[in-house]
Amino acid sequence: MPFELTDTQRDIQKAAREFAEKEFDLDLALELEKEGRFPKSIFEKACQLGFIGIDYPEPYGGQAFGLFENVLVIEEFTRKDSGIGISLSLADMGSGIILKHGDEGQKKKFLIPVARGNAILTAATLESTHKKNEGSIVPYGEAYKDGCLIKRGETRVIHGSSASAIAVLCERPDPEKSICLIVERDCKGLNVLGLKKMMGMKLSSIHEIVLDHVKVPKDHVIHGDHEGVDPLTTYHHVHRIKTSAQALGIAQGAFEQAMKHAKEREQFGKKIVQFQGIQFMLAELYTLIEAARGLVYRAAYDYDVGAKEAERISSVARLFAADVAVRTTTDSIQIHGGVGLMREYSIERMFRDARTIQNLEETNLTQKALIAGKIILS
């Protein structure tokens, strides 16, 4: 685990910061938030500059870095603007699975358009245990030879209105555990239903989808690898780390804004930062954020090097960092006082975004159950 970023990593961090500072305009973010729109032009620029797909190999339009570098970018993005940052970081939600388990053709077909800014590759989970979805995935043709058929499944998907393809993670009975079926937007049987309104994440529209007799051709089916790691596990693993990076950036951003406000705002004849009550709040937040950063970076590093405890650490990082983001944004609102409550400033939005990413896929309860399971079994 490196405690020092390399020069290259610092350059990436700096470039991402400068890009976010320049492009993520607050007024634009508020407008997009109101309309629930994806920041398409910013996404395209981020692709052109190589921020999206930074962890794809070069032949697929990437820069051949790891998840660690991706995390550095996400952190800088959400630090500047939670809504824009989250929506960009989720624009290639399905990439982690393809990078790890996809074949060359799949990587070419699905990653290159994203890296070029022409496509959004989202992901959704189809739990067989969900009563409605039970027994819904059956092979058609000769066992997996021609592909798979999703008889019927209901789930929700992020970027539902703008996605070009959805990596649908389907639970399967052992030993395979799960497979990933890539369903393209214009695929017959895919119905994107109404918007599911959430507290935050308004730039990343979430839709209910129904998959009704969707035929997935063989070259769109992704199986697990020989070491027994299945696509669903990979998906959750990567998503946890990306979520924790989003949370870390939001916490850092909310903290910096609280500092700035406390240094500017005067009450009782002094800057409020001179009051110990405020100082200690800031000290605690700083401590929590530093600890979160350590965990998030370690989780990303562990994923990249394939460390033994990588999966468990991803849960720890996700649990801790999301909590820190919620706490920091809540306290930042408190330090801001009245202005912190107003939508024209970004603090209350950061709180809503932090709370939403904390719960959208796996919850805190899920992380605790996973961590407990792992530490007790080991």
Partner: protein, 374 residues
Amino acid sequence: MIELTEKQRSLVEKVREIAKKIALRNREVDETSEFPWDIFNIFKENHVLDLPIPEEFQGGGAGSLTCCFVLEEIARSSPGSAHMLAGHWLGFTPLQLFCNPSQREKYFPRLRSELAAFSLTEPAAGSDAGGVITEAKRHGDRYILNGTKIYCTQGHVANVITVFAKTNLDRGVKGLSAFVIEKEFSGFSVGKVEDQMGMRGTPAAELIFQDCSVPGENLLKEEGEGFNIAMKTLDRTRPKDAAISVGIAQGALDYTIGYVKKGFFMKEPLLKSQAVQFLLADMAIAIEAARLLVYESATLIDEGRVSTLHSAMAKCLATDMAMKVADQAIDILGAEGVSEDHPVEMFIRDAKLLQILEGTNQIQRLIISRSLLG
């Protein structure tokens, strides 16, 4: 143990039915951020609005504890509606405490059916009321007000507003005076209406005074009494914000219990999860503890033993508790907890305001520690 009287019990039951009905409007109000006059009218017609107004003025003559019961019950279903009611009572409290007989005759009857508000905050005067720079200059038998107030809850729609301005700019809080302002006064206008995180139906408004002419008889008590009036008022209204917080938390717990009975976690029924069971227990413990402190602080007021300390402790504990409990409710509901299909995400946004308004919880801690250290 606090026992409700027969009268209080039937009032709470009546209010519960009203609250369930108005709660159907929660989402719409949250989305449009429009002041819900229909809900205001329901409060008016059912004599909820006039509860604290003395019986001799055909009001309900209710004490603080009764008002707290009512706010708690409404907030349990519709926090924003409780906030409207509390905002009205907050505007009325300075009049209740400090009106002279002719002011009573004039305003008490009106406030049975017209909306009130309270305005102290200014851009430079948030926690520090001494920072007020809105000036009230005496001209013969009138005062001329100039300045801008901010964050006045429902100030954009209120008919009668208690406004704090300086009759002497050099004397800090000792230069503050309180005035009863009517919406129709010339020189008074509403500025920006905030687009806020929670309690969106009763937004905070900016009030602009440009040579606003106020009759001298609308001064409450005497010049220089403003700070005293504001503090005495807040001592009596903080338990009400605390009661709303208890209601919000109880509403979140009610909803969570209903959800837990149907939902699943890790492929098991939610109610079988001990983590969930313990969270529910923690929520119930926190709510009950806060509730008792709220009732105690209100009882002290009714017994004529107003305690700044208890009012501040109740406000601080209950508003912090409401945030925590709403947070725990979201933890249990997961993705549904942050979805607008359920009320919890709205309740937590509403709860956040209460940690800040009527003295941030940092100010409450300041008041409490001062009281402890003498």
